[in-house]
């Protein structure tokens, strides 16, 4: 037996041993969380990498809640900021926002504009959660795009969270918004309650397409700035506008609306309007008010309003 043959024996053994190595069973999400709670950084990294679109919601939630409580796994989270798996990317962005992971703002800016990222609503939420005013034009652009609708709505809500910083752009560039986004923008402007933006809502009253949202917004805005007479919309041909006008004059405690509300709660051909007229009147008078139901009997509205 020559030297070359002798050498083959240990090499062959080594190959056999390696080949026979029993694969370690993969740890469950729960086990990784448990190890992470004990400070096992490698387990936390694996946890971040493991969660994806195929992970059941309960396990995703378990992993997510744990990741909010630890400082471990930051680099793994950052690595997933642009992951092609939408769930993994969503998790990285939202955990990143909660933990203020470095680079999260830029990652969210990129994600909200990424047409291939189906969960860009998570990016819109992230920008609102971070509270950085640089996000205002970014969120407004998402609102202008209008799609996906869930992202546009979340962008509107985040603009609302950024407060007065959002009011100016919404007010001056409202004309860029179309369709559902226009309604979202008007309503958020109402929730922001900034006096200088009130005229934008008043202007929107003139267009039947935006009147409903404008009436809602002006009611929500409350007694800010110069009073606006909304009582004329109590007779609007659109019954939904009449409903919102009943709510709005009630929220504004507009005493002048009381006789009109009293008439509507008795006579409006639409039952929903009669019901909301009673709610609006109750807000004005501070007393419980009733309306005539479909059987001509007095009835107290179901539910309260504010």
């Amino acid at each position: 037996m020559n030297f070359r043959r002798l050498l083959c024996i240990p090499v062959t053994c080594l190959v056999l041993v390696t080949g026979c190595e029993v694969p370690q069973p993969q740890l469950s999400i729960g086990e990784l969380v448990a190890r992470g709670q004990e400070g096992d950084a490698a387990a936390v990294v694996e946890l971040v990498e493991r969660v994806d679109s195929n992970t059941p919601l309960a396990q995703r939630a378990e992993a997510y809640k744990f990741l909010l409580t630890t400082r471990l796994g930051e680099e793994a989270i950052r690595k997933n900021f642009e992951d092609p798996d939408p769930v993994r990317r969503e998790q990285a962005l939202t955990v990143g926002a909660a933990r203020k992971v470095p680079g999260i703002f830029d990652a969210a800016v990129k994600a909200i504009a990424d047409a291939n990222f189906s969960r860009s609503n998570a990016a819109a939420w992230t920008l609102g959660e971070l509270g950085d005013v640089r996000a205002v034009p970014i969120l407004f652009s998402a609102l202008v795009r209008g799609a996906p609708d869930l992202t546009a709505r979340e962008a509107a809500r985040s603009l609302g969270r950024l407060g007065d910083n959002s009011a100016h752009i919404l007010s001056t560039r409202m004309g860029e918004l179309k369709g559902a986004s226009l309604g979202y923008g008007l309503r958020v402007l109402g929730e922001l309650r900034v006096e200088g933006t009130k005229q934008t809502l008043v202007t929107a009253l003139e267009d039947p397409a935006t009147r409903l949202d404008a009436v809602w917004a002006l009611g929500t805005m409350g007694k800010v700035g110069v009073p606006v007479d909304l009582t004329q919309y109590l007779d609007d041909p659109d019954w939904l506008v009449r409903v919102e006008a009943c709510r709005a004059v009630g929220l504004l405690s507009d005493k002048s609306a009381e006789p009109l509300l009293d008439r509507l709660r008795r006579e409006d051909p639409d039952l929903s309007v009669r019901e909301w007229a009673a709610r609006g009147m109750a807000l004005v008078t501070g007393e419980q008010e009733s309306y005539l139901d479909e059987n001509g009997e007095w009835k107290t509205p179901k539910g309260l309003y504010h």
């Binding site: 919601l57 995703r60 939630a61 969960r119 939420w125 509107a156 309604g183 929500t220 929903s272 539910g303």
Partner: protein, 251 residues
């Protein structure tokens, strides 16, 4: 609904009574003034179950006045209550949730009304049974009128979401007990919620029942991008369609 005393009757009969003084316990000794102690024993297999206490007139499917538990391994409990009438119910859901309709295989007791009198401790043992039949209780499907709302629940990718319920509230705060709750969605994500009458509703879809949505829950709300939820007005006799809701995990 069929509740049958199974061969595996879990707890034996209600032995109580409303008037027994707990042995070895002088009247009112451990209670605060104005409270009376109600105690009892729930033997194994009721370990892990929860006792729900309601006041008369409250919806037994809604949030309780208070809960006791989950019970420990010996099944015993003790609670100090102000004077008044209470309804006791034992429940234990196999899925581990603390709210939502009971389904086949869950543990439940019949409601037991108890009058609590100041300074008079009471011993109350509760019998519970395994629920049989009625695999999926469907609040909405019991409605046979022609008023309602329907649509599809999907996720951000537009895929239908299975296993969520639609809740309809008639208060804008959406924090009270929901007025209507649909059956869980199937694989097609469709829901069909029957209503007893028209009105203004605030609607959400979620995978849990009871309490505000928590981080990790699946949740989606009908709204127009505002903090305040948007209303859905449904007229009597109207079946409003295509009220679709997108859900996502609460961050």
């Amino acid at each position: 609904m069929r509740i049958k005393a199974a061969p595996l009757l879990l707890l034996l009969a209600i032995t109580v009574s409303g008037c027994d003084t707990a042995p070895g316990k002088p009247e009112g000794t451990n209670s605060s003034p104005g409270l009376s102690t109600v105690s009892g024993v729930a033997t194994k297999p009721a370990a892990g179950a929860t006792i729900y206490l309601y006041r008369p007139g409250e919806d037994l499917r809604g949030p309780p006045f208070t809960t006791i538990g989950p019970l420990g391994s010996d099944g015993s409990y003790s609670v100090d209550l102000p004077a008044g009438d209470y309804i006791f119910l034992v429940r234990q859901r196999e899925n581990g949730e603390d709210a939502g309709p009971l389904v086949e295989g869950d543990l439940k007791s019949d409601p037991h009304t108890l009058k609590v009198t100041p300074g008079q401790p009471v011993t109350l043992d509760l019998a519970a049974y395994i629920k049989e039949g009625n695999l999926k209780e469907n609040f909405g499907a019991k409605m046979t009128n022609d008023t309602g709302v329907s649509g599809v629940i999907h996720n951000a990718e537009g895929n239908p979401v299975e296993g969520v319920r639609v809740h309809a509230y008639d208060h804008v705060q959406m924090s009270e007990r929901p007025k209507y709750v649909s059956a869980r969605t199937g694989p097609d994500g469709r829901y069909d919620l029957g209503l007893t009458g028209g009105g203004t509703y605030y609607i959400c879809a979620r995978d849990k029942y009871g309490g505000p949505p928590k981080v990790g829950d699946l949740y989606g709300r009908y709204d127009k991008g505002t903090v305040e939820p948007s209303s859905v007005i449904i007229k009597k006799g109207e079946k409003k369609k295509d009220v679709d809701i997108t859900v996502h995990m609460v961050w």
